[in-house]
């Protein structure tokens, strides 16, 4: 055993190891951020993973009387609690998806219930589709194009490319503050 450990290394292995340890560490690579990527209507959006609580199957939402306005506020059961459900699309000023978009090519329902949380409490919305959590290097963030919907600009901090989709990265706290303000 010890004889094997004491064997001299061949030149290639030595070179590879030397190159590996001598490489300058790219510190920027460590500045990553992760978002939950989802779709509302035609828009792909991302929210910092720190601001979401859970993602689940869509559940029956009970609407609130006299609150049938744009937000369509209602209640949805989440783990034994009744959580406020609202239309995030309306809040962000995104055109609602046609109902057929709830089913994808294979006819499987893609809609998911997304629950956000902050110190003020939890709030849920139904996304037309959830892609999953995406981790990216903050260096990949791109500035917002001037073509972005005006209403979205105030909630979006940057764009990031996830696969084929440019994703608008939402400012979590700003969205939650707008939610609280819109509910009252």
């Amino acid at each position: 055993m010890s004889a094997w450990l004491d064997l001299p290394l061949d030149a290639d292995t030595l070179d590879a190891a030397t190159a590996h340890y001598a490489a300058v560490r790219d510190d920027r690579r460590r500045a990553t951020s992760s978002i939950l990527v989802f779709r509302l209507g035609a828009e792909w959006l991302g929210l910092p993973t720190s601001s979401f609580d859970r993602v689940g199957e869509p559940r029956p939402v009970h609407s609130l009387p006299h609150r049938g306005g744009a937000l369509a506020a209602g209640l949805v059961p989440v783990g034994g609690d009744l959580v406020i459900h609202l239309s995030l699309a309306s809040l962000l000023g995104i055109a609602a998806a046609p109902t057929v978009a709830a089913a994808d090519r294979a006819g499987i329902a893609m809609a998911r219930l997304v629950v956000l949380a902050d110190a003020a409490g939890r709030v849920a919305f139904t996304a037309d589709e959830v892609l999953g959590v995406h981790e990216f290097d903050v260096a990949q963030l791109r500035p917002l194009p001037s073509t972005l919907a005006r209403s979205l600009v105030s909630y979006t901090s940057a764009l990031v490319q996830v696969g084929a989709h440019p994703v608008g990265v939402l400012d979590g706290p700003r969205v939650m503050t707008a939610v609280s303000a819109a509910l009252a």
Binding site: H62, H66, R67, L75, P77, L82, G93
Partner: protein, 731 residues
């Protein structure tokens, strides 16, 4: 958790216990004091001193020490524990309460430290036998110092509350989920159908084969299929039975868990009224009376929330009993009654309710004084008052501003008493009654729900969603044929027990979408006999026991809704607030916005295009309404911009016609709001105004109005043509 932290917690618990002993012991101290009572007080002070020393709480050690010295002096007979000295000792206990909240060894506020020094000095004098009367005036500033020190000290939060709440919701959800499993197991109709179909197919095969000459091999094969099918059915049934049994056991356990969690919310009654003996004593001392509190049924379990909500009303009734009931000791003695009065506070369960009584042995309510006051206040005339029974007169005691006192004292006489008690008690679904026991005195009885967290409710469907109405507020449930519905001035009603009951469409009341109505409307009659309201619902679902949850505070008060709950099938529902519904119905009727329920009403109203007419002038409003309705549109009216905004948010409109100058919210702001709202933006708005200058017109259009019309021209066809241009024909 570090040992220091748990030590501090242990100390706080012990301090609470010993302070309660000191407080209770002092309040119930009788003269002459018994050695046993003093012994107990000394022990409490001594234990507290020892505990405070262990955690290094210097101020508490000193105050507890001086208290102990006082008790020692009393035991030795050097001082007598007069009422004045007991006052001082209680002040020392208050100081201990404030100090106990300070983290041992932590930073002590200067004001708090000074207060402790002064209390120590005053107690030292008391132990030396300082006269209580001479010190009484000096005690007031000290009292203030102790009270304000209490406010300076951060109070430890009531831990565990949220956890119990959370446990309750989780246990509730688990219960619902486990019942769901059982329901799934029970509903295997589809599987059974498939099995029967398989059996039928095999039978058919057999009969087909019977007419043919088939090989023995085929015969055997079909027999094998038959056998396998039967075995599969049998095995499945066994599995179902096994799963059902397991499911039932799970449900049983969860039901027990749920009930235990519900129980955990119950607290002994005594815990909620622990401060009452002291409060009674302070009130009695202040008014120069002598009174004791007798507590009965301290162990009666009461829902924590109920306990919290009745604390203030009970405190009020107890203070009232001393102030209005118990006479001065001299008067009582002169009548040959014990100079010390008794206030009896009792809690017990009865008839599924919690009954709390507050009874005093004082002078009782002077019926003639009430009668005179009722007449003087102009509530009725002398003749009618003379005929009123005791119970009828007692009702007046609960009127706001009603008092038998001419002078206002710090305790009562302002007439803000009993009505506040009644309001607080009614808010939690209880009631309060007053009576005069044959033995004299006054007796208040509070009937309260055992718990606020569970409610029996009638679940109905309105506008395609479920709503629950507390059974306590449901007067009657019935089907009303549309032919039986009469209409008076646009308000519909039907007759129930010879009384007209107003009818309102549930979906309209709640601003929900309309559903097709059947010929016989399902009507839930809610409220009191004096103002019964018939709510037309889409469907009755049934009675259910619901665990109430509050709505998220961020929503604020949602009109007509009292709370939320999960139904047995796990779907959410809203519990309606019946008093709110009554108000909403009145407002709807006043605004002329009630839709018809009666014959021929269904369908037509829903299909017509809806126009909202907004004007503060009744004449203009009605003129416009008649013109537009004359064209076949459905028209609702609103009296100002605010009213219109609420109507718009609650219902769907195709067009808004509005005036500009209106109170509360003018037309310009209304237009601005509509055009700034994502869903309402598309609704065309037409301004009809007397203002015909160009700048007025521009102001309206700049705000986003789609059309501007001056009032001079709306009598002609212009307005109707414009409406048709915007939204087309009425249907």
């Amino acid at each position: 958790m570090s040992p220091e932290v748990s030590l501090a917690e242990l100390f706080r618990t012990e301090a609470r216990e010993q302070i309660a002993k000191l407080s209770d012991g002092l309040v119930s101290l009788e003269e002459p004091t018994t050695p046993a009572a003093l012994e107990e007080l000394m022990r409490a002070a001594h234990s507290l001193k020892g505990a405070a020393r262990i955690v290094g709480h210097e101020q508490m050690v000193r105050v507890a020490h001086e208290l102990e010295e006082c008790f020692v002096a009393a035991q030795a007979g050097t001082i007598r524990l007069t009422a004045g000295r007991v006052d001082m000792l209680l002040l020392g206990v208050d100081a201990l309460t404030s100090l106990a909240a300070i983290e041992p060894g932590g930073e002590v506020d200067e004001a708090v430290a000074n207060m402790a020094d002064e209390v120590v000095a005053a107690l030292r004098e008391t132990a030396r036998g300082a006269g209580s009367v001479a010190r009484a005036s000096g005690r007031v500033p000290l009292q203030r110092a102790v009270a304000s020190a209490g406010r300076l000290v951060p109070h430890a939060s009531q831990g565990g509350t949220d956890n119990t709440e959370r446990l309750l919701t989780l246990a509730g959800e688990a219960l619902v989920a486990s019942r769901g499993v059982l329901a799934q197991v029970g509903s295997d109709a589809a599987v059974r159908r498939a099995e029967r179909e398989l059996e039928r197919c095999i039978g058919e095969m057999r009969s087909v084969f019977a007419g043919l000459l088939v090989s023995e091999e085929a015969q055997r094969a079909i027999a094998a299929v038959e056998l396998a099918s039967a075995a599969s059915t049998q095995r499945r049934r066994e599995r179902v039975v096994a799963i059902e049994g397991a499911g039932q056991r799970v449900t049983d356990v969860i039901t027990q868990l749920y009930e235990r969690v519900l129980d955990a919310r119950m607290r002994p009654f005594g815990e909620g009224v622990a401060g009452m003996p002291r409060m009674l004593r302070d009130t009695a001392r202040e008014l120069g009376r002598d009174a004791r509190l007798v507590l009965v049924g301290e162990g009666t379990p009461v829902d924590r929330e109920v306990l919290r909500r009745i604390e203030a009303p009970l405190g009020h009734l107890v203070r009232n009993a001393v102030d209005h009931g118990i006479e001065a000791p001299a008067i009582r003695a002169a009548q040959g009654r014990p100079s010390s009065g008794t206030v009896r506070l009792e809690a017990r369960h009865g008839g599924g309710r919690l009954l709390v009584t507050v009874e005093d042995d004082g002078r009782g309510i002077d019926l003639e004084a009430v009668r005179a006051r009722v007449v003087r206040r102009g509530l009725t005339d002398a003749h009618a008052a003379a005929d009123m029974s005791e119970q009828e007169l007692f009702h007046f005691l609960f009127l706001p501003g009603f008092t038998l006192r001419d002078e206002v004292t710090a305790i009562s006489g302002r007439g803000v008493g009993l009505d506040a008690v009644q309001t607080a008690v009614r808010e939690i679904g209880g009631d309060v009654r007053v009576s005069a026991p044959a033995t004299g005195g006054t007796r208040f009885e509070l009937q309260l729900p055992l718990t606020l967290s569970v409610v029996w409710a009638l679940v109905v469907e309105i506008g395609g969603e479920s709503f629950a109405i507390p059974l306590a507020r449901v007067h009657r449930v019935l089907r009303v044929d549309r032919a039986e519905i009469a209409s008076v001035e646009g308000r519909e009603h039907f007759t129930l027990d010879d009384r007209p009951v107003g009818l309102v469409l549930g979906h309209q009341l709640l601003g929900m979408p309309a559903r097709d109505q059947e010929d016989a409307a399902a009507v839930v009659v809610v409220g009191e006999p004096e103002w019964a309201l018939g709510i037309v619902v889409d469907r009755l679902i049934g009675e259910q026991e619901l665990v109430l949850r509050g709505l998220d505070a961020r929503l604020g008060k949602v009109q007509d809704v009292g709370g939320a709950a999960l139904l047995a099938d796990g779907s959410p529902t809203l519990v309606l607030d019946v008093d709110d519904l009554q108000r909403t119905a009145t407002m709807l009727a006043a605004g002329g916005r009630l839709d018809a329920v009666g014959p021929g009403a269904s369908g037509r109203a829903a299909a017509r295009k809806r126009v909202l007419v907004v004007d503060d002038s009744l004449t203009v409003r009605e003129l416009e309404r008649k013109m537009i309705e004359g064209q076949g549109y459905a028209v609702d009216v609103a009296v100002d911009g605010m009213d219109a905004w609420n109507a718009l948010r609650a219902g769907a409109y195709d067009l808004v016609v509005t005036d500009v100058d209106m109170p509360r919210m003018d037309g310009i702001e209304l237009v601005t709001r509509i055009k700034g709202d994502a869903t309402l933006r598309a609704v065309p708005v037409m301004i009809v105004s007397y203002k015909d200058r160009d700048e007025d017109r521009r102001r309206g259009l700049d705000a986003g109005a789609d059309f501007y019309l001056t009032k001079g021209s709306f009598y002609d066809e212009t307005m109707l043509r414009a409406i048709e241009d915007f939204i087309g024909m009425p249907t």
